[in-house]
């Protein structure tokens, strides 16, 4: 794509600014700041990725993935700030989801362990797992608050904390996985996914682009289910004290 074409396309930004101004939405400043930030961030990321892809060191690639994992864990831990230890739980959950998914893709020969393939794919996997476990934490917190009667009834009957919480755990795992399942159902029907659109725009044939999209769908399903499962099972006990009493 030529730079001049991209500059001309930036006139699209004017559409939203004019709309905001005419409708008195007072979003003009936000739109301009947002657009400038997006341009600067993407340029910086583009150059960094260019440099990283040039290094071609598996150790460096792995270290970069670990840093991405840490950032994602920090972000999802914010969603579960009422739950103790969510930073390491998130790290384990996202890490395991990413590791297993990437391992299967590499072993299957779908991708190779080279920076230009592993880093973008890991980025997609990690960010989806991050969103999924953020939803899991939110659901766990709300269910333990709203369904405390159910939990206490089961505890009073002599159940351990796992059978007392199992319905909440299942509900939270479902919540974490639901967006991925829903988007799977509408793939190609409601919209063409971003990655597939990008490949087609870059000149790849739609039939070839579909193969990649199917791979992405499988890997997102795998990582969100592993991460949601681990995050819920590792964090539910944090809602109880050492006397197996529900902390309210």
């Amino acid at each position: 794509m030529k730079i001049t074409s991209l500059m001309l396309a930036s006139s699209l930004v004017m559409v939203s600014i004019i709309f905001s101004y005419s409708q008195k939405l007072k979003l003009e400043k936000d739109i301009i700041v947002g657009v400038l930030r997006a341009i600067i961030q993407l340029i910086v990321v583009g150059y960094i990725l260019n440099w990283i892809f040039g290094i071609k060191s598996p150790i460096f690639t792995t270290m970069l993935i670990l840093v991405m994992l840490f950032n994602a864990s920090l972000n999802s831990a914010k969603r579960g700030r009422n739950i103790e230890g969510t930073l390491w739980i998130s790290y384990v959950a996202i890490g395991a989801g990413t590791f297993i998914t990437i391992l299967i893709l590499v072993l299957a020969g779908t991708i190779s362990y080279s920076a230009y393939q592993i880093i973008p794919v890991s980025g997609m996997v990690i960010s989806n797992a991050m969103v999924a476990i953020g939803l899991c934490y939110r659901q766990l917190t709300s269910d333990f608050k709203n369904k405390y009667m159910e939990v206490e009834t089961k505890l009073a009957l002599g159940a351990d904390i796992l059978p007392s919480s199992i319905e909440i755990i299942r509900d939270s795992i479902r919540t974490g996985m639901q967006p991925t399942i829903d988007s799977m159902k509408t793939l190609g029907v409601v919209a063409l996914p971003g990655m597939m659109t990008g490949l087609i725009l870059a000149g790849t044939s739609p039939v070839e682009a579909i193969k990649y999209q199917i791979m992405v769908t499988f890997m997102l399903l795998s990582c969100t289910s592993i991460a949601s499962f681990l995050a819920c099972y590792l964090s539910y006990s944090r809602f109880f004290n050492n006397r197996k009493q529900l902390i309210k």
Binding site: E150, T153, A156, G158, D160, P163, E167, R243, K244
Partner: protein, 216 residues
């Protein structure tokens, strides 16, 4: 012989004292009726005895050992609590009745379930009924049946007949009295004055967070 002993037990929540300096001795096979105004701490006392909460001060001794020394799960299986508001989970009554067997990893004893339901004037067909379609009285009886599937050492009952008619109330009272005659220690919270007078071997009254024994 005392089975349960509360030593200077206090319970505070969000800077509010609910129970203060409670001393109480419960003997084996006692049938204690607990009365007191709403919000006086009756339900809190039962939750403390079931170890769903712990005292903020003092200690509770069960069969010679502090409650803190017991595994809470085993303790709750020995000291069972039936709540005032019956909470049924899952979809059907059957799921509720098999839960106590599942958590103990025991085979489901259907004849026991049927006989308990019959004693509580509930038909077998109720097992497959959706819990959403039960009346308040049915829910309360199912909840009690679920608690009684395994005979506990101490049975804690929190206003379990509040949603029942007179006939079913008497049936429940007979079942509990029979259990007490078989050696189960009963601690029953009630608001019903007549019930408090016709039941129990001892009566305690809770008001303003303190517990006092009512002499017959």
């Amino acid at each position: 012989m005392n089975i349960l002993y509360l030593e200077k037990v206090s319970y505070q929540r969000e800077n509010k004292t609910i129970l203060k300096n409670v001393n109480l001795t419960v003997n084996e096979s006692d049938f204690i009726i607990v009365t007191g105004p709403s919000g006086s701490g009756k339900s809190t006392l039962l939750k403390l005895l079931n170890n769903l909460i712990s005292p903020t001060k003092g200690r509770i001794v069960y069969r010679g050992k502090s409650m803190e020394e017991y595994n809470p799960v085993e303790l709750r299986q020995n000291i069972s609590l039936c709540f005032q508001t019956p909470y049924l989970f899952g979809r059907t009554v059957f799921e509720n009745m098999v839960f106590p067997f599942n958590i103990r990893r025991k085979n489901i004893d259907k004849s026991m379930i049927h006989s308990l339901l019959k004693n509580l004037d509930l038909k077998e067909e109720i097992l497959h009924k959706d819990i959403k379609n039960l009346s308040g009285g049915e829910k309360q009886r199912v909840s009690l049946a679920r608690t009684l599937l395994f005979k506990p050492d101490i049975l804690l009952l929190d206003e379990i007949t509040s949603a029942l008619d007179e006939e079913n109330t008497l049936k429940v009272e007979n079942i509990i009295t029979k259990l007490n005659n078989e050696g189960v220690t009963i601690i029953w919270v009630t608001h019903n004055k007549e019930q408090a007078e016709r039941l129990g071997t001892r009566r305690i009254h809770i008001a303003g967070g303190t517990v006092s024994e009512v002499k017959a």
